[in-house]
């Protein structure tokens, strides 16, 4: 017979040791036994809204080209030295903040971290390196134009924020803005915004045999003044956009609304409801649209925190002929005429609480979670507070919170696919779309 499950003991997100270095850098240190690959995540709080208009993509190029060469080790030599230490650098210049990560075997960390500090302090940004990174970003933009799913995400930004706001425009810029970027501007961006003051570095891994003082000392050479802050994106009247891709064999559907976030007393209730609607495999929408109707490979969504506030979103790709019916069913679900049931919320509660230890299993998992919190100005204790808060809301609370923050008539919606088929089908379910 079906075996019983022994409940897991309470789990807590690890507590870091926090140090403040002389150069202004805040360091969160997580000693995680038997995690032999260390993860280092640096958070720079600069949002893309401070990029000069017409030079969008500057932050992306400055980040991408940062490890091509340094004053001490130019012409690609610094990358060779990093690779020799088993280190890998990667990062992303997001709308709200920039992350630069280094992963390296723990036993090679002291050398790798010295090189990391060198990269941050003295990138040489040679002209040909900048030119190459600009070309890569232009090429990546063109590849996204050819991909219905990527176009869907881009169009959703326009639908939600409008192109007059930075968040409504592509994070990595467009060919026009990218090609306007010069090495001088890249160097100026680095000098202005790559600053330890206001930045947070998360260091996670098996540090048992590591001299942490020495590691922190390696970062002290990095200097710079305080970084800047830009305007927050504001809600604007959301639009319905239909991106015409005549040869697409599937339609990508993305919809979203700006909502309150972690600061809201109902945040846990919202997370529970959003996951019950579209986050879990056994979510309402996945059971309906995938398992019962076979309309899609899968639908995903729920509430996601932004550094301030939050966002509700849903995404899925559907056969072109069933897209309008799928969207009608999605919107019906978002109206939430039948509130969440206790069984739905209880399953989701057990998942969101129970997945904690698995979702924070590796050094990289912990570092990435911590860096998201640091970017939002929160401490690492937030995870444990949130876990405790998830225990409280009943199904009715989740339903009421959802109704309070999501107005289904005010969603930004982007559909990507053949407009000649989709426009009339969408009109038949009562939705008007602007074709772009």
């Amino acid at each position: 017979m079906r075996p019983d499950v022994i409940p897991a003991s309470d789990w807590h997100f690890p507590r870091p040791e926090i140090r403040h270095l002389g150069n202004g850098l805040e360091v969160w240190i997580f000693d995680l036994p038997r995690q032999y690959v260390a993860a280092i995540d640096l958070v720079l709080p600069t949002p893309l809204s401070v990029e000069p208009r017409g030079l969008e993509g500057l932050a992306t190029v400055a980040l991408g080209a940062i490890d091509e060469g340094t004053r001490e080790n130019p012409g690609g030599r610094i990358t060779e030295l990093l690779e020799l230490q088993g280190a890998a650098l990667q990062g992303a210049a997001g709308h709200s903040w920039t992350r630069l990560s280094l992963d390296a075997p723990v036993h090679r960390l002291p050398s790798a971290l010295g090189l990391f500090a060198e990269v941050l302090s003295t990138p040489d940004y040679a002209s040909d390196d900048i030119e190459r990174h600009i070309e890569w970003q232009v090429a990546a933009f063109e590849t996204r134009l050819a991909s219905p799913s990527a176009m869907g995400r881009q169009a959703l930004r326009i639908a939600l924020f409008g192109e007059h706001q930075r968040e409504g425009r592509p994070a990595a810029g467009t060919p026009e803005t990218l090609q306007a970027i010069t090495p001088t501007q890249v160097k100026a961006w680095h000098a202005r915004y790559y600053s330890p003051t206001g930045a947070t570095m998360v260091l996670a891994g098996d540090l048992g045999s590591i001299d942490v003082d020495l590691l922190c000392g390696r970062m002290e050479r990095w200097r710079g003044a305080a970084a800047g802050h830009g305007p927050e994106a504001a809600a604007h009247l959301p639009r319905h956009l239909l991106v015409d891709m005549p040869t697409a064999v599937q339609a990508s559907v993305n919809l979203a609304a700006l909502t309150p976030g972690r600061e809201d007393p109902d945040w846990a209730a919202l997370k529970l409801g959003g996951h019950a609607m579209a986050g879990a495999f056994a979510s309402r929408l996945n059971l309906e649209l995938r398992e019962r109707l076979g309309y899609t490979y899968g639908i995903s969504g729920g509430f996601a925190a932004r550094p301030r506030g939050g966002q509700f979103g849903l995404a899925g790709s559907f056969g072109v002929d069933v897209t309008a019916d799928a969207l009608r069913r999605v919107l019906d679900a978002v109206w939430l005429a039948d509130g969440f049931t206790e069984a739905e919320i209880e399953d989701v509660r057990r998942y969101l609480i129970g997945i904690g230890p698995l979702a924070n299993e590796t050094a990289g998992d912990v570092a990435r979670q911590a860096c998201t919190l640091a970017a939002a100005g929160l401490g690492s204790g937030f995870v444990n507070e949130h876990m405790a808060a998830l225990r409280r809301p009943a199904a009715d609370d989740a339903t009421a919170a959802f109704h309070r923050v999501v107005d289904p008539s005010q969603l930004g919606i982007a559909v990507t696919g053949p407009a000649d088929v989709l426009e009339s089908a969408l009109r038949e379910i009562g939705l008007e779309f602007e074709v772009i």
Binding site: V5, A104, P105, T143, F281, R290, G294, R350, L358
Partner: protein, 419 residues
Amino acid sequence: MIAEPLSITTTTLGNGLQVCVSEDPNAPAVSVNLWIEVGSRDETPGRTGFAHLFEHLMFEGSRHVEPGEHMALVEAHGGSVNATTSSDRTNYFNTVPPGALDLVLWMEADRLTSLDISPENFDAQRRVVKEEKRQRYDNQPYGDVLELLVAQHFPPGHPYAHLPIGSMADLDAAGIADVQAFFDHWYHPGNIRLVICGNVTARDALALVDKHFGSLTWRPAAARREPDVAPVSGKRSTVVRDVPHPIGYLSWLAPPAGDEAWPAIELALAILADGHPSRLHRELVREGGLAREVHGTALPHLHDASVACLLARPSDGTSTHALLEHVHRVIAALARTGPTDDELARAVAQHERDWLMELSSMESRADAIQDAWLTFGRPESVNERLGMVDAVTADDISRAAGLLSPESASELHYLPEGY
């Protein structure tokens, strides 16, 4: 010390089920990972994509588990669950808090004894798989490149000639009558390897395995289709598609995945094309200005030949043909003089990080054990991986680069319309 070796305990049940437990008392979870030794290579002509469709059907209910309930239950206990199908194996994996291990093993055994698929669920999953094919391949720029590369080396009818996703026509042609036959042929205990990895003792884990899987019935091993056509090399083809950029691909037949030459082949590909210090990037992108980007990849096969591949995107004014000539020149230089000490050391250090990362979570660690077990016949060989790579010499790299010769290369020129 770089990392502790993994503990490995193995046994084989009377019905032929092979079991391996790897204890980690400090892990937050335990992974249950089954590899069924059946993949797209075992599909019969006219039924491509069936092994993968069958993987979906395995979640559609059994005697005591409702359709979709397997995934829902694992999630409701704070776990993660999924499955994948490759050319050589089908993989089902669950990672759960230790207290849910009993339940997961029970569910896995239930579907291996009493899979129960309704016609409605069969039809729905077939539609899901067709949408998966559209989402991952047909609706993506360059989405058919892997299919084209494979087809260049394996003639129609060869077991490796098609991808696990299969063709729309074959998916349409599949019927519910195919389900039981496929199950009977492949899903018997002797064709299954079970790895349990994480926070459980080998003793407890093996007792649970015996309790749930002991009653499965032994069946004789099924005949495996052997290729009746040989792989080929040296093909040249050009395709024109609605894509933004031209890309040139070179690909070669390589030894099967278990061959002792593989660590050197992987390091040679890394030295040639992995990262900005790689030779092709330095000579053709950074210094030569002939290419915008270069990458390398390997497609290992368990039986018969694998495929090694390098790709390059040309700069404006350079043709893919001219660019691939330059790629050959750089490979030939590596074959002739071997890597520098620094190049070899970098490739080894990068591999070390990737490998340790793979072992850092229970889910991917269980997969690494399975892969070592299937490839080399012993799960213990997972602990020999770093040593195998450390032992690669400069001469080994030269020999591996020598396999990537112009004479045996296939070329694919993937061009945008109007190029």
